[in-house]
Assembly symmetry: C2
Homo-oligomer: 389 residues x 2
């Protein structure tokens, strides 16, 4: 039976590794597909013997490819040449959207999804190079605000365990549908900081990631099938109305439970001058909102492709921007960046212009790229060297 097959397999079927240089780093070890081609296109192949229709939903459906059935029930497709960096994807088999067994899983869009890393020379800044490496710890702490034990991920810089030094702390948040694992597994925050620290570009620091999807559930996204469009125009978001539902619990978790835990558990420098808060997308909105509400705790803020909707600096965000001179004096850094192909470009650029008009100092970066981890890794590499100097 199957158990005997497994037994044979356990003891007998080892063979030496083949040279599969065009496997991707995001593949499960030994999986021959997905496979990178010389032109940066990627060939995908998977088995679905009795399926009628198989699609590859690149970038979570923004670029669907019809796969073609070949011998042995295998379906195959080769993408167009892909931009270097990290791409989420799903496979759709007769309407079932799930992961590719050839890929590692990453938590995104509130579920496990597949991904490919398309390498490029510019990827070196987040690679595991021959430099001293820090660690990424899963730590558990009890949150009174949430009423439960919670897991947080904590990067400690190289040498943390060999000194008695105290370190500044960056609280760094993922985007909607992701979790506390995103910045290390997708973002490689640890290797980015290892490399920046090794080259003397960033101060050694602790980075803390929490789960910002906290205390709220979300209806599933409308999930238009590729090629379809919603029939109603989007309502104008009201930044103030979001606060109660979206931020209060997470604000309390961060400020009342997480920060005291981190300052107790790690050798931190526990003051506002040595504490930063940043995030991407929804996490960028949270960073601005929570950070501006707690300027006693934070003096550096970063908003990467953020859900940021400032139009009236006198009123929006409960008046947090209403006194530019005071805010400029309080903040060591307000960093805002967005990619030129990002669907949030308009509101973020509008927010930047409103802040600029009001005389609120900030670093503004309009980069190339879309709403993707490829961009956010670069933003961290730009942001981190500006902290705690």
């Amino acid at each position: 039976m199957k158990q005997i097959a497994l037994l044979i397999f356990l003891v007998c079927s080892f063979s030496h590794a083949q040279n599969q240089s065009n496997e991707l780093s995001t593949n499960v070890p030994g999986a021959p597909y997905p496979r990178l081609n010389a032109d940066s296109s990627v060939t995908f192949r998977m088995q679905a013997d009795q399926a009628q229709r198989v699609q590859l939903l690149m970038d979570l459906g923004q670029a669907p490819y019809d796969m073609v059935k070949g011998d042995g029930g295998f379906w195959e497709v080769t993408s167009k040449p892909l931009l270097p960096g990290f791409h989420y994807y799903l496979v759709s088999v007769d309407g079932f959207d799930s992961t590719d067994p050839g890929s590692r899983a990453y938590f995104a869009a509130r579920k496990e999804v597949s991904a490919i890393e398309v390498p490029a020379p510019e990827s070196e800044f987040f690679a595991a190079r021959n430099v001293p490496h820090g660690a990424v710890r899963a730590e558990w702490y009890f949150s009174k605000a949430a009423g439960d034990w919670r897991r947080t991920y904590v990067y400690t810089p190289p040498g943390y365990d060999r000194t008695s030094d105290r370190y500044p702390v960056l609280y760094l948040q993922h985007g909607w549908g992701e979790d506390e694992t995103g910045w290390s597994l997708q973002g490689h925050e640890n290797f980015i900081l290892d490399n920046l620290i090794a080259s003397g570009k960033a101060k050694p620091m602790i980075i803390v990631n929490e789960n910002g999807m906290t205390g709220v559930t979300f209806s599933p996204p409308p999930a238009p099938r590729p090629g379809t469009a919603p029939t109603t125009p989007p309502p104008r978001p009201n930044p103030n109305a979001l606060k109660a539902e979206k931020y209060t619990l997470f604000d309390n978790i961060i400020t009342k439970d997480l920060i005291p835990f981190i300052d107790n558990q790690f050798r931190t420098i526990p003051d506002r001058d040595h504490r930063a808060l940043a995030g991407l997308s929804m996490g960028g909105g949270q960073a601005v909102r929570i950070g501006l509400s707690h300027l006693d705790l934070f003096s550096y803020l970063g908003a990467f492709s953020p859900a940021l909707f400032v139009t009236d600096t006198a009123k929006d965000y409960d008046g947090a921007f209403a006194d530019p001179a005071k805010l400029n004096q309080q903040l060591h850094l307000l960093w805002i960046g967005v990619g030129s192909d990002d669907f949030l470009l308009a509101p973020v650029k509008g927010s930047h212009e409103a802040l600029q008009k009001a005389g609120i100092k900030h670093v503004w970066v309009e980069s190339s790229g879309a709403h993707v981890w490829t961009v956010w890794r670069k933003y961290l590499a730009d942001f981190a060297p500006k902290l705690f100097q």
Copy 2:
């Protein structure tokens, strides 16, 4: 377009959490299915609009269920009442075997798979209880044997960062097709030890997990479809023939690279009296093989449902069992356990009988249960209190 839908979604569609007490801890947050019923059966539900046949492959295909199509393209099935504990599963949609979007993914069978945790009162020993918690660290080190940077997972006990104490170390390995994440994500080694340490039953210790699938690739398993059987009988494994291919690289990684790294990076007690090696299934075979080859390094060995095939103690395992009196003097503990429903029961029990006949001292546990994490968690809880006393 889709991006506008996502934008609406990002800012507008938050709602308070519903009370979904019959969600499983292994579900992605907020997923209403899989859903636990009062009789410990589980109801699964997933969307596959155009599929002709959807099966649930419980326990990776050992217990397949045909799912039934209902309204809206949703397929549903309720399992029979399930044993408490951890069950891997896959979904098969028209021949495509993949993960259930409602479940977290776990690395097993060389790919990401879904799982359910069926709770029970006996689950308390691996739950996150109100006791001091240790941490699980991802650490990177350079292995000369492997020629690359490698990731290892390290459990540090509660209080590790607050004392200058030195600790004994248990090297603890996963089974075939899994990786260094298995013992924390599937096994909850950290909570098991937190609870044992809090109750005074186990000494505080460090636990190290590496990836034992190292340096070898495997042909994909024959993967008989449920209900089919291989047509040839299994060959009798030759324990000695396995050594070169299966163990040498991993042996070198552990003994030449990992142990020196751990003893340098952590406050260990770096001697054989304070070093244990254990593992489950393939990892149990590795623990016995590598441990007996390095009695200068290890004095406690544990083999949980191991790939262990001793018949002739004079010759098998290159004569490691040939001098019982000497071995009994060298080993503080040799622990061997297997479940009565485990497909490896016969060879493991045969090995136990051969060792017993030769007068080789060992703890022998024949428990209930199959070849599953539910059993291995219990084995760790039995094994750990016997270490370093």
